[in-house]
Symmetry: C2
Subunit: 212 residues, 2 copies
Amino acid sequence: MPAVAPDPGDLTARARIRDAAMAHFGEHGFDRATIRGIAETAQVSPGLVRHHFGSKQGLREACDAHLVKLIRQLADRTHDDSRLENGNPITAARTAVGPYESYLARALVEGAAAPLFDEMVELGARWLAEADRERDDPPAADVQVRAAVSTAMALSITVLHKHVSRAMGTDVFSTEGDELLARALIDLHSHPLLGRDQARAALRALDRRQNR
Amino acid sequence: MPAVAPDPGDLTARARIRDAAMAHFGEHGFDRATIRGIAETAQVSPGLVRHHFGSKQGLREACDAHLVKLIRQLADRTHDDSRLENGNPITAARTAVGPYESYLARALVEGAAAPLFDEMVELGARWLAEADRERDDPPAADVQVRAAVSTAMALSITVLHKHVSRAMGTDVFSTEGDELLARALIDLHSHPLLGRDQARAALRALDRRQNR
DNA sequence: CAGCATGCTATACGTGCGTATAGTAAGCTG
DNA sequence: CAGCTTACTATACGCACGTATAGCATGCTG
């Protein structure tokens, strides 16, 4: 069962090509992926790819657009769904992107998929703004900045999943790996690397550096 | 002044080619970068590149090896240097990799540079193990796993710097951006997203899911 | 039925790029 | 000086791939 219900008529050759492209781009990167290879996976002729998408670049843009659509749907759904036990909307998104994870990682790294990242930052900012209302001290940085940073950090597991898996000894995308990852994240997120006093000291050090 | 003193004879054509390659690979990625372009930047003939490095792949490996050497030097230095005010060895490494940052990002994402990542994880693991001795509760995950995850998270800023910069509104690699980033990191690292009780609840939820 | 758009294939073109080869000049060793 | 290695260039080969074109069914519309 796909993570998101396919559009009506989404089993057309056009859709097959798009899906094959997302798999190939994700696995090999945009440059190494070939139209011929994509066409073969989609079981169509290479010419048809061009017929539908105009060019390789056009194909990539269609993939991006499709992923953005998915993320939007996901965001809306998660927003309504207030009983998220994951606590964190970003990890929720991570798990839900599912089969397109490798494409997402590639797209982000290759500089494309900017609207997608921005969308996620926006989501994170709203969430942080809510959390800020519970705080007793003023945040040391703008919500937008903190959202950007933590979005990147959240995506890092996906983007570097290959390395993380190797270092962990388990594939992060397997159920077992997910388990380990969840525990590690909970631990890291509940044990600040910096104590309040250390943080204050660090901020003072920054101020000194700035006024110099 | 370079971040690390160049080896004697590091101004040879061979070294120039390597540096040019790191710049090109970093900027365009391995596939888009061309031997001809690299040779032009290094002001040598394309043939010389092959003469020295055998193949494009060999050139990449030489770049990786060079970066690993840099990181090792850096790690040793930081280890001796106990008066690190950054508090965190990873952020220290990040700033010090300096001009090779974009190459590092590309290499990691393209799946190469595995020993490099592992090296950083090892570094982080040692650091975390020290920090663990100060803790009163048992960590929820193995040191290795937590090290892998936090290394990835630390690298995410570098890897996704383009997106982070755009979302922040300032180039992360500029002095101003670095300032903002530092504040955001201090804030995020000193304010756990999860409280102790929330963390315990989340762990219990995980246990339940596992025993099902 | 004519006309035409749509979905699709087969084939061919052009080219940018990695690689291979041959050759030159300079320095070192006996 | 002969012989060899090292550093380097110029030129050419071959191929993989994006792109372009032409052609063929199918099905809709007037």
